[in-house]
Amino acid sequence: MHKNLFTDYGIPVSAEEERTATICMNAEGDYRFVIAAKGFVIIVNLENDYIKQVFFPENNDEYPYSSFSSNGLFYTGAANMFMVLDPFLEQFIYYKVIENGEEIVGFSFSEDISGNIYFTSYPHCHLLFYSPHSKEIMDYGSMDFTEKYPGSVAVDHTGWAYIGIGTEKKNIVAFHLEKGLKKDLIAEQQREKGTGYIYLGEDGFVYGHLGASSSPQWMKFSNGDFETIDVEKLSPSFYTGTAFQRIHRYQEGRYHIERYSLSEGFIELVHRETAETKKIQFSYASDGAKLSTIYLGPDDHIYGTSMHPLQFFQFNISTNKTTNFGGEIIEKGGGGNIAAYASTGDVLIGAAYAGGKLYVFDMKKKFKKSENPKLVLQEESIHRPRCAIGLKDHKHIVWGGFPGYGMVGGSLGIYRIESEENYLLTHEKVVENQSTISLGELRSGDIVGGTSIETPGGAGSREKEAHLYVLDWETRRVKNSFVPIEGAREIAQIFVDEYDRTHCLTEQSIYFVCDPSTEQILFRKDLSSWGHIVRNGFAYDLPTNTLYCLLSHTLLSMEIQVKQCVEPKVVHTLPMSASSGVVHKNSRIYYGSGSHLCSIQIGED
């Protein structure tokens, strides 16, 4: 018996992603550049390059979504904690855990002319108020009863707050702070998929648009209403940059921030008067970036990416050495991750969030930016890929996942490797309003798929139960589709054994085996006492005909027998819990535990 039970190989990607930034200037004209990140902020004195890392209070290790600067103070939120930092004292001077049922506070920020801070929360679009003077927090309640993402907010000098909301039915809401009067400013027929956008102009007026188009119709807001205006008449915003690269009050201080990256640890600056450039490089303590799915490449190395930021790494099983290729190697990778892989021959294909990007890796060649891997396509209707399989014909990859923001039901992609063509089956042709998140191939070549009714892009779910379906490979049509487990919202994992029985796991860790042709459930067991499901938890060992099932706290095994389904057995309780999987090699199961790569032995070498 090999006795090295468990190994933690450490952190393949020791980096964090910036989650917006601000410049904070105090009354004396002293200023700091503050970057928000998961669990901490980085305070930078741009004048003398001094860096200070300050962790969130109470070991809060959650992601911030927005940050804001007012009167030299820095405001942010992470999970349901609202926080105020004095970047000159280098400490959080106020924080409060807000118990209003919301998951994320500080989704967007603004202030009124008196310096009071307004902020929004996810997922019920609450508007809240904080008085820096009295330290009072007030909750005005939900501003939109169906949408989840209040991505921008601004307060004008007439006592109205305006909230830009997305994603399934975009909206802009006006709310009178004293009277409590709330108005949807967007006509119902205009409330399509997208995001309402709001900002406070330097002239004190609020501007915004409904997004989506390349030349949006701009609006100017006042007294709870708006007029449309030409783009030339807009007042500049206090923000620059997009998404998590956004910088609030970017025009303050003596230096202009040209570029910055927390994951790479640099800030490039230009002096506003002398045009002199400088680069500040810095490091910080990081628990590492959480790992997404890992996969055994055709070259017998493990490959994977981290999430927030996306960095691509390789783990050499024979030497236990990790190589981090960084983020640049994955074109347009950004804060996403490769969530599903498939391979055939020397080709490895990765399907990535965000945007449903498909990358083709030629494993015979060296990795090179913009060349290998090659970004071959982007498919918004598979914005969040969850599964991919290489078919036995060695010609096709089938992949699926969730659609983009505000959409319901993801497509199924059939990618032909040689021609780089991607054939799409929209959700209406597979299982309406549902997304394929697990896949297998039957002996006949037909495809078996498992769905999810979830809508992580902010839309409302329209279905009640997840389906299993069989797709006729020849006709590309769904032969049959059924609900295998009553009440299950997701069929999250699939493994098809040599007898065409389909082994599945639901989102609640219910393991079941079914015959997809007869729809008969042959075996069912609740495994939830051993943990929750992880991304890609099934691994098959051919010599022993054993299916391994990795749950968050336990590794289980199921012996595949001809005549019957057998009870899962506990192989090991995991010394470090699993969050992503799974690679089986040399009698070991490799998995991700947060930001760590680990392995646990399963038997004799």
Partner: protein
């Protein structure tokens, strides 16, 4: 010998009663020790420690090696041995790699602790793995602070729960050892653990301590009271007296874990041969850290125990070793909170440096 009535009314005699000089203290200490050993059924001579390596785990900053080591009467003690990871490149592929790691003469020598677990059916896992309960993972925390940690299972817990038996059932033990006690068995098993640590080249044998909570707490000072190789002791929520104890046979015979059967005979006669302040006093002048909570539901009578702490402090002061004794009393429950653990670890840092 004390009557229970007298203990209830006035408590035990002061530790320094009729003690005017160090010789008289040593004489008194010998008497306490003799009574203690007589009551627990004596301690047999130690045997040369040998070790079997079962499995190991490689973590980011430490190794966890599951072993068993020999103890008296041909018994074996399952334990987790936690070793700080100094060389990132070190790869333990084979058993000889592990042995090399533990016995290499060139190795850096670490301070060590024997970490004793509380009443948990998972035994050593509770304190030495991430599966342990909140505020109980002191073994794991100490290896990360640079200590070699030996976390053994006590009898009836963890890997020592007998087949078809419930945890913490000592009936089978007493069937084999009718004249002995579970307390003596635990002490000698832990002494063997100290012997094992001394055998390891990576351990600085002059810097071995003991730490525990609850069951592990009193086991740590029981051990240090009879074994001078222990150079610092931390006891969390394990110091409790006979005086005013609502559980009459807590230390004697009972339905489950019976510590010292003979105590029940004494108690049935209305007497006890010692008070636990005296047993803790056997540790002096070895550095001793005691923590207890006023809302401890396991040991609810904190007032007499607090007086015991004052007594112990007086003894250390009298020995001119006052700084070697730290006692903390808080309003916590039967717990080992993070802030107290930090103070406890600093205490070990200080006295094992």
């Amino acid at each position: 010998m004390y009557t229970l009535k007298a203990l209830e009314k006035d408590g035990a005699l002061p530790l320094l009663h009729n003690v005017n000089n160090m010789d008289e203290w040593h004489e008194k200490r010998s008497t306490i020790r003799r009574n203690w050993l007589d009551c627990i059924g004596d301690l047999p001579p130690l045997v040369k420690p040998s070790m079997k390596i079962n499995t190991w785990e490689i973590h980011t900053d430490y190794y966890l090696i599951n072993i068993c080591y020999s103890t008296v009467y041909e018994d074996w003690v399952p334990a987790n041995l936690l070793v700080p990871k100094v060389l990132v490149e070190e790869n333990l592929e084979t058993e000889s790699d592990v042995l090399h790691l533990l016995s290499s003469a060139k190795s850096k020598q670490f301070r060590a602790v024997i970490a004793l677990h509380p009443t948990s059916e998972n035994g050593k896992e509770d304190i030495s793995t991430t599966a342990g309960r909140k505020n109980r993972q002191y073994g794991l925390e100490l290896v990360k602070r640079g200590f070699v940690v030996l976390a053994p299972d006590t009898i009836t817990a963890g890997e020592r729960v007998l087949q078809n038996e419930e945890p913490f059932q000592t009936a089978a033990f007493y069937k084999s050892h009718p004249k002995w006690s579970a307390v003596a068995k635990m002490i000698v098993d832990h002494q063997q653990g100290i012997s094992l640590l001394e055998e390891l080249n990576i351990v600085d044998k002059t810097k071995i301590g003991a730490i525990g909570h609850s069951l592990g707490g009193y086991n740590s000072f029981f051990l240090a009271g009879v074994d001078s190789r222990v150079k610092a002791v931390v006891c969390s929520c394990g110091f409790s007296l006979f005086a005013q104890d609502p559980e009459k046979h807590r230390w004697g015979r009972r339905e489950w874990f019976s510590h010292i059967p003979k105590i029940s005979d004494y108690i049935n006669d209305g007497i006890v041969p010692f008070e636990f302040t005296e047993i803790a006093a056997l540790v002096a002048p070895t550095p001793l850290f005691l923590w207890m909570g006023q809302n401890d539901r396991i040991f609810p009578r904190w007032e007499p125990a607090a007086k015991g702490l004052v007594e112990l402090n007086s003894l250390y002061e009298w020995m001119e070793e006052g700084e070697r004794f730290t006692s903390l009393l808080g309003n916590a429950g039967h717990d080992f909170p993070p802030e107290i653990r930090q103070i406890a670890y600093a205490f070990l840092d200080k006295w094992l440096s």
